[in-house]
Assembly symmetry: D2
Homo-oligomer: 365 residues x 4
């Protein structure tokens, strides 16, 4: 079950970076949702390698095939299987990794757990695994749009190392974010961020940063206390992504610097709607959305693969050294943006269907 996510709208991803391909099975999708491979491809293209000069040059078209669950252009309510073949595989690039653990990668821990690993590539720990999530999230977004017209999920690069973007979550648009290869929401930050990433790559080094995500026009009522609190599920979703080290909702760690009197979000009536004058809660109170923007941040560490010599050990348990090879992102942030959006959509879609199941009939009355 470790490779499944969601209780009603449930995805199961599979696949290694090298091998037959990667994919996903979606179970529990509502029927009669229009769905095409072209729609899925749009988000896969936002995630795929080789899309710009600041990401890995691995050449993968990441073309998807819907194998089941869709008939005459609409979902059947049965499992939707989606397949993306691996194409541009270069296992030989990994020959040295066969016997040496790359620092801060999953090589050693997979060996420690399973006694084996797919060494010619990142295997299951590769970010290629997220293809299935992105594909499934296209479906999730369509379900959400049907349930909650106007709901909008937007992520952007909030910082690269110490370069911080100035973004207004209330007004930033998808067009603004997609207009630059860094996928930040601040036009002023594009240049410095791009330059820093390029410099890192030229040095064989890497860099991390923070992705921010906002959900606008979210309904009140999503989230299932106590272990399925909305922020708990979002935290699990985000921390399940490769390279993530932290998650904050609303005021986050910074909120610990305020007193209760400063931190509380006062309620007020905006016409018939209950609103809060501030949003340090991040749109979630007691694990349930309150109708304000859902707002959170995710920390991504600098890419573990660097091109300089590093101290490590061999699988024969001897000290040795290793220099990174292969094609890698000097900064995962630009490609992480659609992935964070995807996990957000999957989380909300499942919570929306759970909410309909438990509270749908009582609210109708």
């Amino acid at each position: 079950m470790s490779n499944s996510f969601g209780q009603i709208f449930r995805i199961s991803t599979w696949g290694e970076s090298h091998g037959g391909g990667v994919g996903v099975v979606i179970d529990g999708c509502p029927p009669q949702i229009p769905l095409s491979e072209e729609e899925i491809q749009i988000d896969l293209d936002r995630r795929r390698p080789g899309q710009s000069e600041i990401v890995t040059p691995r050449k993968e078209s990441d073309s998807c095939e819907i194998l089941s669950g869709v008939f005459e252009g609409k979902t059947l309510g049965t499992p939707i299987a989606i397949l993306v073949r691996n194409k541009d595989q270069r296992p030989s690039s990994y020959n040295e990794m066969k016997d040496k653990y790359r620092p801060s990668h999953a090589d050693y821990t997979y060996d420690a757990k399973y006694g084996t690993r797919a060494w010619h590539g990142g295997g299951r720990a590769s970010a290629r695994e997220t293809i299935g999530r992105v594909a499934a999230a296209v479906v999730a977004k369509k379900v959400l749009a049907q349930l909650y017209p106007g709901i909008e999920i937007l992520s952007w690069v909030q910082s690269v190392k110490d370069i911080e973007a100035q973004v207004d979550g209330q007004t930033v648009t998808s067009a603004m974010i997609e207009s630059n290869i860094v996928r930040t929401g601040d036009p002023e930050a594009v240049g410095p961020m791009t330059d820093l990433i390029k410099m890192m790559r030229s040095e064989g080094n890497s860099v991390g940063g923070v992705v921010e995500c906002i959900v606008r026009n979210a309904p009140a009522g999503l989230g299932n206390p106590v272990f399925g609190k909305l922020e708990a599920t979002l935290a699990q979703a985000m921390m399940s992504l490769p390279a993530t080290k932290g998650f904050e909702i609303g005021s986050g760690f910074g909120g610990t610097q305020l007193t209760g009197a400063e931190h509380n979000d006062p309620f007020y009536m905006d016409g018939d709607t209950v609103r809060t004058t501030s949003n340090r809660s991040g749109g979630v109170q007691g694990g349930i959305s309150n109708g304000e923007n859902i707002s959170f941040k995710v920390a991504f560490k600098p890419t573990a693969t660097i091109m300089t010599e590093q101290q490590t050990v061999s699988s024969q348990k001897e000290d040795t050294e290793l220099k990174g090879r292969g094609r890698h992102d000097p900064c995962v942030l630009p490609r992480a943006v659609p992935i964070v959006e995807a996990m957000t959509a999957l989380t909300l879609c499942d919570h929306a269907l759970l909410h309909a199941a438990q509270c749908g009939s009582s609210q109708a009355s």
Copy 2:
């Protein structure tokens, strides 16, 4: 399933702050584990109200009763049901809350979701809900101790507002932490933290902070990629606790300020053991523990209940004001320490049994 946690060692908690009581059912516990109510009581006492001058004065002995699953002092392998009665209930303190939503509490969102709420107290959103978790975790810790002798889970208050403790995670002991009512690991910080909390209470205000947790002598191999990555489950576990706003593992958000060359943890051999010279990974790589200390932080917001007048709305959807009443913690951190430990134990125990299930036989060979 929202009130259940874990796949093998699975707990289901229930109960509101006012009403018959709170409790937990543990399913999937290994048989033949010695277990007594007295052992469970020890941790419940660390969590209970009224234990010191800086926590809520609500008088609850929180005495537990084991209703099933234990026979002649040992677990049977069948579900263990544990009950704690609510005693010191004062629903009248909440009369005003019946019609007014307390800011940054769950009052409004529960109403929005369920169309009802247990208004005479915090209901299910009360921190009393965590009693079941703490009780179950006593069992989890015994299972872990049997599987991994020497494993040690320690939490402490790392900061209260802007007062930061200086704690060495490698050497801090349970005795040091339990020796002071704040439950910090830094003797120098006890005084300032205590003073701040008392001042906040006297002002009718509140304060938050950060709890840090370390797991020492953890085995390599725990965690189940991809959605069950160890840090993903820990993040879900911690963000399911009341008042949490952030989670960081290892380098966390601070790690985004480093380059890959600075951030990577070099491997080296320490006798027969693979070790890392630094631990920015926080003991987890690719979602699986690597044998180093598992190390993470959790941000707790300032308590939402404050004793000053606040702007809010009524359940009749009119603007109004509300002043906090009732007995509350001016700072949840001291009582959060055993709860963070509890969720860590529950997470690790379940992962340990999952690991035994999937990889136990292959490792034996």
Copy 3:
């Protein structure tokens, strides 16, 4: 998870026949459902021992207490915990069973699996475990009634050993079934069945039979292919009951004696409703209800506890003999009737909420 049933409306039962009590936690129940202990007690009384001269004389009032999840007489949407204390315990009756395995009981297998067992009584394998199911099913029936007014679940004793009742599933009523202590739907069979059970008891012997169940006014559309087919979930539900050995839906094993031309259920229009002229499908086609009566049978073996000397082995693994003692039902069928109804209600309720989750919005359009 072995002690939980259902995906949305999820129950977790706990408890041994001797010890603190037995109970259930219901998670995922819709909010705002009126619920009282008195309502639950009605079905518990139909299940409890000592209710008539043909069942076990163990004196248990089986009084239930709702510990959580209900406020001001209505469900909150939070977990509902229900407790029934064990009262009339006579562990001394079981002294001999401490060291000897009762034939066709669970004594040996529990020891083989867990290395321990609650020997002073049937432990977890006791039919007392079903109390939690019956209590939870009262809630499930209320949810079903709200979703599908007119839906009716009726079980009765169809046969005791070779005495077969003549019952018309279309017209039999609850009043007819409850009017006799055997709980059969055929007035002619009451006498012979009662006499047989009494004779068996006087001989220290026991007897089994078949319970039939029908669901009238069930909606079309319930059931989730493929592993959650309605008949698959019903089969699991029924075979999870103590003493069950077989499950049939519709034509069952007898249906294998027909050809396809004889077995198929022709469709016809009954006004606006699609109906079938026969119902060998038992109301389910392709795992989904078709709107006809859902109809199935469950085989219960003769009670394993008999009062005559039997060959067995000791826990020290030596051949020995054992004579049954304690208070037991010479025939479980009369008390099995409410339990079969309970599991049917739990199964349908969960499927109804699953159906609302997946297909609710598409049908609304």
Copy 4:
């Protein structure tokens, strides 16, 4: 989750009879298990159409491709995705079914539930769906063989309509069963059964029967009371198969004709092993295997597709008539044999890993 089965060794199947193909994802498989496409193909060939003159002539090679989870011939511990393409599709054969519901098929119920269906073929309700189960079961059998050397799962056709085979479950072999196209274990029954099936086909009619299954050299201790009782999981597994109408374990419905004194299985010591002199329990007591042969029967109804005119209704809800077309099995029993074995293997494998998780460490001590 409706298309997933198992808690640890968890399979998720997908696919319709017409479309891209069918397949399965296996999560939770132990690592380092040798696995090849050739091994999987062996059982797929036992299941595939066109294998003999008494099954459907649809021409499908059912060649499988392992897409992930296997590296250098061994399992990785990561999800194993297996794909079988649909080849010999003839959607035009189904043109009439587009608007007419085939009696006793899933056409109407899928429409009633989902508001749509894959009408050019049986869609998800087709027996092609079982391909994924059979493929996954090959892996499950390898895991079982590693955990319990000598364990043997054997199914055979016990009856076709009123022709009953005489088979000794203790001595029947796979070779005997596979030696005839009916897959019965009784050489005397082969001729009559074959003749009956051929006659039915020539008449455009169909026939059903009973498959029996035995597990030899099963360990004691498998099964997880109460909802995960071994017989409950087996019942769910079998009743999730297309065309099944009944399930019996051990004495089954026939056992209700015995008294307790006749029905109980006396224990005796066979060397160091606890055995029973009879096996009316079917190898399971209290939901846990007792080390005797696990023995059960499954009723399969006559194939719903027949070639004679039948009364039905259209999707426009008008009375009409329909005559079966397409390529179908006049009797599903011969091909059901490997499928029953497959579901048995999947059930036991999951229970074996669950048992290792919960009881593995306590038994080691």
